[in-house]
Each structure stands twice: as structure tokens, then as C-alpha cells.
Point group: C2
Chain length 493, copies 2
């Protein structure tokens, strides 16, 4: 029931937390910082996975699986990488429990100490590149285009369901190439795939860009990303694609024999998207009544709710509903018929609004008489009576789902435009961040120091240097020093 869901305008953060729990998406687990992804939430994640996996395979990638554990020494082989991840690693030190002496509890057996501690993977570059060393000898072994669906662990002190959890699910692509150009092209391609997925499936408009040095992945030469805008004016990074240069190849000594007979280090990329996307999906579209799901990712696209008083009415409506269900399913539309007599129609309406089901069809005795149904849209909360005479219901609903998918995207796109402001004075910069939020497009002198100072003063970070920015001479918003173009600042999740 959506009763009592907090309002976004009053407490956006509480609204989010409550929505995630009440819509049966996820909940906190007994293990600090880890979440339980509940069946309804997981079914949305499965749809995301299936689509991304398809897009990866269509571009020539294959899946594999690498170990959960990484020897401590491996993590250390790439200097920046270990610096970036060492502070948040779960460490396995023992491999056995035993009974305590009084027999009342179970303790860690001190004799079962590992010779070398193992890290639970925070990301898998090190273990994968140590494997690639054996897989790559010659240019004929390249490119190597591998993806992995896995869980990873980063020990976070402040966690929020989906957005930042100690354990999360993700995919991580790890590719190896013969040339720098090819590796960069792969990096850009994967950013584009993430953007396409976000826009076409999540109905989430994004900005494509490159990270500043400060925000770069630990061990990368360049990090490409997609950034989305949430309803509270904060940005959310929704996928990253890293050009690794030869850093990991050098750290793990991965060389290949070139066509010309030389021996060179391999060029690498890695790219990932995680259950964080669930957070983005929820925060971008939902409202005070609950979730709003784009039809392409909705586990249930249409719910049919019968309204009846007598058993005969129930029987007749069920017959008609089953006809409609058969037609809708023939078009690949997922339908649920909720004819439970334990709950009233009003309760069900609220429940499926909370769950974000895109289309609701209600049918009562009068609808039967008139050969009509009531069709309601979740995104706009609008409804209409549709006379079925001469109407192919499966075509009608199929088109409506397309319309809804587009409408949710358009709404988010307009919002993103509204929330993107070109700013040229520091005063306005600070004031906008405080009062409106959003993406602030501003000049920056290109130094780490200025970026850090701005973060310190305002909590805003450089989300990205947009791919499509135009060259434009200007002055840094903070220091007044010369700049070659605008970058996007925002407070972010």
C-alpha cells in the first residue's frame, strides 16, 4: 500500500528509502551495508541484465567467470589501483571455524590462517589480467572481448539501498587489444552502449563524457561515463568505461607477438554497470504514489483488475479478461490478472501504482454490457474508457506501451534540460547549487586543486567533460584562469 509514502518535496531521501522497501525492491540485510534484493526488485534487474547481455553479445563479447578472491599481492601490482581500493577491501584471513573450548560457541580457528590474505574482489582487473597473461601470446589472440556478471564488495561506511552498498551486483567487461586506437574505440563503444541502454530501455536521458583526473578509475588512463539527473537535482553516474592504456598489461607482464614480429604490451579497457542502475531508475521517474517503470523494464506491463459484486459477474468478467490476456500475450505483453477476492479493487489500484505497473485495465459489469474497459496509465495517472468495438486490444495496448515508454523519456529529458544551467559567476554557481541543483555547465581551469577547492566549498564535483562540448574560451568559475570549454558540475550520488 502506498498509504503514507513520504512526499518527494518534503523528504526526498526518506521517500526513496521507503519506496524501495514498500515496493518490494530491496531491504537492508543483517550484514551491515549489504542488501537483500527482493523478488520484485530482482525481476527488474533480470530484465536489465538480459538487455545489456544481448547488447554485449551483439558487439562480439562473450561471458566468462573469474574467482571471487584476489591474492593481496595481486591487488598491489598496479600502484594507483591498490591506492584506490585498499581502503575498502573485505579481507579473508582464515579458512575454518571450530568450537570454542567451553563448547558454547564457534570461533575462528587460529590454526587455519592463510599464508597470504585474500581480498574479496572490489573489481577484477588484477585477477583477470593475471589470467590474460596465459591467454595472450600473439596478435591472433586479440582482441579478447570478455564480460563477467558477478558480485563485488567495497567496504562502504555509509550505505544506501542500490546506490551504495557493501556488496553489489554488476557486470564488468575486460578487453585486450593490439593497438591503442582499437582500445579507445572499444572504450567509447561501451560508453555508447550504456547510453543507448539508459535512454532506450530505462527511459533515462544521459550526458556522455570523460572524467577529470580526480574522478578517474584507479589504474585507468581515461574514464568515460554516462551521467543522469535525478529529481532532487543530484547527478548519478550510471555506467563507466575505462581506457586502461598498457597499465595492467605492464603490471602483469602481458605482451603479444605483433604481426611484424615484435613483442609489445597489450592495450586494455574495462567497463561496468551495477545494481546502482536500479537506484537511478527508481529516482528518475517515480512519484509520490510509488514507482513509475518504463514498459521495457516492467516485469508486469499490464494488470487487469475485475470489479464485481456477485459470483456471476466475477465469472463473466473473468471470461472476457481471459480473452484479452490471450490476445495481449500473443503480442509478447506481460499481463497479470489479479482476481483475488481477499483484496478490494481500490487496494489493488494503489498496490499496482506503488509497484509501477505501466497500464491498468479495470473491468466491471457495466464495461461488460458496453463492451468497454477502463484503461489507466501509471505515468500520467490518467484514465479513459475504451470501447472495444472494432478495436484490436493487443494493438492498442502495444502502442500505448510505446507511447508511455517515450513519454517517460521525454519527461525526464525535459527535466534534464531544465536542470542544466550555464553559469558564469561564482555567486550564481553557489546559489544554484543551494536552491535548485542540477548540472551546472561552467568553465574550469583544468587543475585538480581548483576542482578540489570547489568540492570543498560546495560539495559539487565535476561529473564529466561532455563528449560533445564545444571549444569555447572562458574563465574558470572559481579562479578566473583561462579555460577552453565548459564542464558539468553537480552534487552527486
Amino acid at each position: 500500500m502506498s498509504k503514507g509514502l513520504p512526499k518527494r518535496s518534503e523528504d526526498y531521501s526518506l521517500w526513496y528509502n521507503e519506496l524501495v522497501k514498500r515496493a518490494d525492491l530491496a531491504e537492508n540485510s543483517p550484514v551491515r551495508g549489504c542488501m537483500v534484493i527482493k523478488p520484485y526488485g530482482y525481476s527488474i534487474w533480470e530484465k536489465m541484465q538480459a538487455q545489456l547481455d544481448k547488447m554485449f553479445k551483439e558487439t562480439g563479447h562473450v561471458n566468462a567467470y573469474f574467482p571471487l578472491f584476489i591474492p593481496k599481492s595481486y591487488l598491489s601490482k598496479e600502484a594507483k589501483h591498490v591506492e584506490g581500493f585498499a581502503k575498502e577491501c573485505a579481507v579473508v584471513t582464515h579458512y575454518r571455524l571450530k568450537n570454542s573450548e567451553d563448547g558454547k560457541s564457534v570461533i575462528v580457528d587460529p590454526e587455519a590462517k592463510l599464508e597470504e590474505e585474500l581480498i574479496v574482489r572490489p573489481t577484477s582487473e588484477t585477477v583477470i589480467w593475471s589470467t590474460y597473461k596465459n591467454w595472450i601470446q600473439s596478435y591472433r589472440d586479440l582482441p579478447l572481448l570478455v564480460n563477467q556478471w558477478a558480485n563485488v564488495v567495497r567496504w562502504e561506511m555509509r550505505t544506501r539501498l542500490f546506490l551504495r552498498t557493501t556488496e553489489f551486483l554488476w557486470q564488468e567487461g575486460h578487453t585486450a587489444h593490439a593497438t591503442k586506437e582499437e582500445a579507445i574505440a572499444e572504450t567509447v563503444q561501451m560508453m555508447n552502449i550504456y547510453a543507448q541502454f539508459a535512454e532506450e530501455h530505462m527511459a533515462l536521458p544521459v550526458v556522455k563524457g570523460v572524467k577529470s583526473e580526480n574522478e578517474r578509475f584507479a589504474g585507468a588512463e581515461d574514464t568515460y561515463c554516462i551521467e543522469a539527473m535525478m529529481q532532487d537535482g543530484k547527478a548519478l553516474q550510471a555506467g563507466t568505461s575505462h581506457f586502461l592504456g598498457q597499465n595492467f598489461a605492464k603490471a602483469f607482464d602481458v605482451k603479444f607477438a605483433t604481426k611484424e614480429g615484435g613483442l609489445e604490451y597489450v592495450w586494455g579497457t574495462s567497463w561496468g554497470a551495477s545494481t546502482r542502475l536500479m537506484g537511478a531508475l527508481i529516482m528518475a521517474h517515480s512519484d509520490d504514489n510509488g514507482l513509475v517503470l518504463p514498459p521495457k523494464l516492467a516485469p508486469i506491463q499490464v494488470v487487469i483488475i475485475p470489479i464485481y459484486k456477485t459470483d456471476e459477474e466475477s465469472k463473466n468478467i473473468s471470461e472476457k479478461a481471459n480473452e484479452i490476456i490471450t490476445k495481449l500475450r500473443s503480442k509478447g505483453i506481460s499481463v497479470k490478472f489479479d482476481d483475488r477476492d481477499t483484496h478490494k479493487p481500490g487496494w489493488k489500484f494503489a498496490e499496482y501504482e506503488l509497484k509501477g505497473v505501466p497500464v491498468r485495465i479495470a473491468m466491471g459489469p457495466r464495461d461488460l454490457e458496453n463492451n468497454s474497459v477502463e484503461i489507466a496509465r501509471r505515468d500520467t495517472l490518467s484514465k479513459e474508457i475504451v470501447n472495444l468495438e472494432g478495436v484490436k486490444i493487443e494493438e492498442y495496448i502495444s502502442e500505448l506501451l510505446d507511447i508511455i515508454q517515450k513519454a517517460i523519456f521525454e519527461k525526464a529529458l525535459n527535466f534534464k534540460h531544465e536542470m542544466t544551467t550555464e553559469v558564469d559567476s561564482w555567486k550564481e554557481f553557489e546559489s544554484l547549487l543551494e536552491n535548485k541543483g542540477g548540472f551546472l555547465s561552467a568553465h574550469w581551469d583544468g587543475t585538480n586543486e581548483t576542482e578540489e577547492k570547489i568540492k570543498e566549498l560546495t560539495k559539487a564535483t565535476i561529473r564529466c567533460i561532455p563528449i560533445d562540448r564545444k571549444t569555447e574560451a572562458g574563465k574558470c568559475i572559481l579562479t578566473g584562469k583561462p579555460s577552453e570549454g565548459r564542464v558539468l558540475f553537480a552534487r552527486a550520488y
Copy 2:
């Protein structure tokens, strides 16, 4: 290349290890006991997953995700459970690394010690039942039919690729029910689903049965299982389904309000199958030339290899091959056209034999002239020239794939029959185990002591008490004490 693959008859164990590596299925990782599942191996696992997932969903189950980590105290709540798993647990004790004082290496930060150690899940009953406590209040919340695809860790001292690894992938179903009868029916249903999957998709005949108390899952009242026979005469447990009684409900205080207004403990089941199935698939069907894959699980069902000398021949064959490919794909058959000019046809023949591709189509200039192709079966290594005049190649191949699927199953079924022997004397029992192996169907007095004694003497264990065994008075093979029916003994993986 299959060149040099050891022969099964000479060293079955070496043959298996080499086959797994050379067919690009898996390899050992730098982390002791953990494996890397290579892309070709993983693509077979993906097909297994997809089919099992479909069967689970068709029987009303939904997927969810629970944490990787389990607080040590949770594991201890069910006495037999902790006894069964404590000795092989990876234990997380710290959550941070830091630079050593000399700055030359990275060490575990002693200040980042966890208050309570975390266990990397060896199985998830405890963390899931602690969650179910919040999900289940009333009979209306039941049954709860949840599955999880996940990685688990059991610290094994002696490991073998797929068969026994420290980390492995699996699915674990965890269901909760209002009555004992319903929970037992679920347990049996899932055993049947595993059996159906093994027989229809893996082409692997199995025996369905119940485990003896000794072999029961730690914390279960009853363990149902499917057991398969490998080519070396050893049995392999290919899936288990546990009736948990109210054990975990009691350990985690999970009660529900009954329809009648009472308050009762919930009844539970759990069931799992793992990447071990890959080991079973490989060992059951493959031969000295390499893998033999049943068509339903083969990532590539048909490979087309052109045989040509001139560019023009190559062009003409490619044209014809592409026609065939289009037709095969229209029937949902997965085809690979290997027209690489870097390898000779003979090399390719051996390569796809090693990889277990069920059907090979070879086409040379004479085939073009005669409108024919050469079609070879991997399972029988037989080949024939097929004139395509009036033949619908897609129908032909589709039927052939069905024939191959059945033939592989029949062969394994015959082998299983051959390898199942009723034994009534201890001498014969010992001799058969030593000289032939297989399932030995023998009387047993029903005591743990006798079972353990037999294991000690022969390394054979009771694989199961077959579901369909007939009541038959007899005398225990070892002690001569009375028995009510035969059980299946075997040495096992």
C-alpha cells in the same frame, strides 16, 4: 587440437583434466582451489542456467538475491548445520588494507578488525531464514518460492575443475510452506525437475533417491538426490533437494498465523545444482577425441567447414554455405561458419571434435558440383554424403540434432544399466568395486555403523535409497542382518 589428449582407458583422471583445459572449458586460477570458467565453458553453463531457470519459473519460483556474507553467529544457530560447514569456511576478519611502514607493500590494517567475523556463504539457509522471519507473518505469505543464482565458497583441500572447487557457481532454492506435506511435495518436485533437466537436456540418465542419514545435508530431515554414472564407473551426485522440516524456522524463530488462528513454525525446503553439472556432462559423454555435447546444450550446434584451393572455389562455397546458414538459423539452430584461411580443414575437424560440436558440415568443390554436403556426427564419428536435391536442409539437420540428443542419452542409459549390478555377497561386492565399479544394488542393515564400515573397507558410499525400489526382504551385504530393500552403493566423485 585434440592431439595428445590422454586416453580414458589409460588415465581417466588425466584425460578429464586435460579435456577441460584443452576444450577451453575452465582452468585453475592463481587462487588455490578456485577456477576460471573460460568463455566456451561458460556458454554451456549459460545454457544450463537458462533451461533450469525456465523450469523453476514455470513451477512458480521467483529469483532474488541475498548477501554473500553471513555473520558467524548466524551460521551457529542450527546445530547440525554449523557442524557440517564450519570446517570449510572462508572467514572475513578485516575490512581494510594499508601501506606497510616501509611503504614497500600493502598489509592488513589491524585497526580495521570486524567486531563479528563474517563467513563467505557456503550455502544460504541461515541468512535467508533470518530474512524470512520478516517476510512471513501469516498463512497468506505462504508458500514462499524463492531461488537464487550465486557463487558460494567451501574451503576444499583437494580440488578438481568443476567437480570440487573452493568457489563454485550454483542456484539454491529456498522455500517456505504452511504444512509438512506441502514442503515434502516441493522437495520431491524439485528432485523431479533436476532429473528431467539431466535426462532431457544433459542426456544424462539418473537414479532418483533419498540419502541415508550419513549423507544427508547438514540441517535437513531428508535429502533427495539424483545420481548419475560416469564412464569410469564412479557415481556423481548431480542435484540435491532437502526437506528441512521446521529446523531453520525454529533456529530463526519463523512462525506464521494459521488460517485457524494458531501460530506455527514454518516448514522449509532447499535445493541446489551447481557448476558440478559441467563435470558430469563432460565425464558422462566425452571420448578420446574430446567433448561430446548433447545438441540442447551445445553453444554451437553445427559447424560448416569449407574445403577449397582457389579463391573462386572459396567464393562459391561461401555463397552456398550462407544459403544453408540462413535456413538453419530460421529453425533456431546455432551455426558457425569457419572460413578462416589460417587453419587447414583437418585442423578444424579435430578442433570442433575436441569442442564437441554435434554436427559438422563440410563442403568442397565436388559437393558444389553434385549439390551435396558431407555431414558428420560428433557422437558416433560417422559421416555421410547428403544430396541436397529435394532435401530441406533445415529439416534434415533439425531431425538429426534430435536423433543425436536421443542417441547420446540412450548410450548413457545402456551404460548405466550395464553398470548397475545386484550383489548379494560381500566377496562379489568387493570384487566388482575393484574391477568394474558402477552402482551396486545391495541389502544394508540400515545402520550408520555398517555404512561407515563399508566406506572404510571399500571407499563405496550409499549413493541413495532409490525412490522406486521394491520392498524385498534380504540380508545386509556386510553384517547379514535383516534388510527391507536394496540401496545403491558406489564409489563417487
